[in-house]
Amino acid sequence: MTIASTTQLICFLVLAVTLVVGSLGVVLLPNIVYSAFLLGGVFLSMAGLYLLLNASFVAAAQILVYVGAVNVLILFAIMLVNKKETLAEIPGLVVRKVLSGLVCVGLFVLILRVAFTTNWALPGPPPVGEEATIRIGEHLFSDYLLPFELASVLLLMAMIGAIVLARRDVFSSDVITGEPVDQGLLEKVRTPLLIEKPALEKTP
């Protein structure tokens, strides 16, 4: 084993441990702000694994899109909806957690069995290494041109959809005088859709 491959193995082990511990922390930690920052750590170690897999362009895209955009968006969402609330107790929650844990372990064993028993076509052709970015560009503008254009349409749709969904409804004119009002300062009084369960159960 050469020194370079030893270094590669150590990098892989460190990144793998970071990834597993970080993802468990994302799911299990009670404080959601810690979960969001750990999610950023998971994305960063994923980018490191992409570098180990000879994909520097995708690693850069991962850092730019996931750490720079998605994680910041999640942090903003946490700040916007950060209300201390005591969650109501649900009967059978522990049973549900244990059962779903068993299902997930079963799924994990199934995936591992498939991964280790399948006869993969190894070793494949040698990786292109640093030419990967050129190859990706050729793919995107020749045989994957239609998905590339569809992705741009999808991003536009997502942008408009997010604006429409998260927009506040405001009055466009004053109710009494009929004059146009300053947009963005007034918010329509809305009735929350909270339906109390006991009120529903009493009616019949």
Partner: protein
């Protein structure tokens, strides 16, 4: 400064190591998706699952399809879709929070029978 790893060095780490790591990540994401009470954490679990799929695609792209690297192209598309999904999902979450004034998944039951 180059990050390229020289050819012939990829054989020290087996493909199955990456597949197993992705399986751990995916199963953690599934468990979090089922059991989270906070709606933001559900979105984070979905991101974990998408990343696990990306890791699988990248591993196959490097080990089996080293010349054409179609897996990397697919990973870029998955990253695009994940970004769009996060934006729309968080917008839906904000709208839900304004209407119900909670982020508890157990109370989003308007469409339940």
């Amino acid at each position: 400064m180059t990050f390229a790893i020289l050819p012939g060095m990829g054989e020290t780490i087996p493909l199955q190591a990456y597949l197993g790591l992705a399986a751990v990540l995916f199963c953690t994401g599934v468990w979090g998706l089922i059991n989270s009470r906070n709606a933001v954490r559900v979105l984070m679990s979905i991101e974990l699952m998408l990343n696990a799929v990306n890791l699988n695609l990248m591993a196959f792209s490097n080990y089996i399809d080293g010349q054409l690297i179609r897996g990397q192209v697919f990973t870029i598309f998955v990253i695009t879709v994940a970004a769009a999904e996060a934006a729309v999902g968080l917008a839906i979450l904000l709208s839900l929070y304004r209407n119900r004034e909670t982020v508890d998944m157990e109370r989003f039951n308007l469409l339940r029978w």
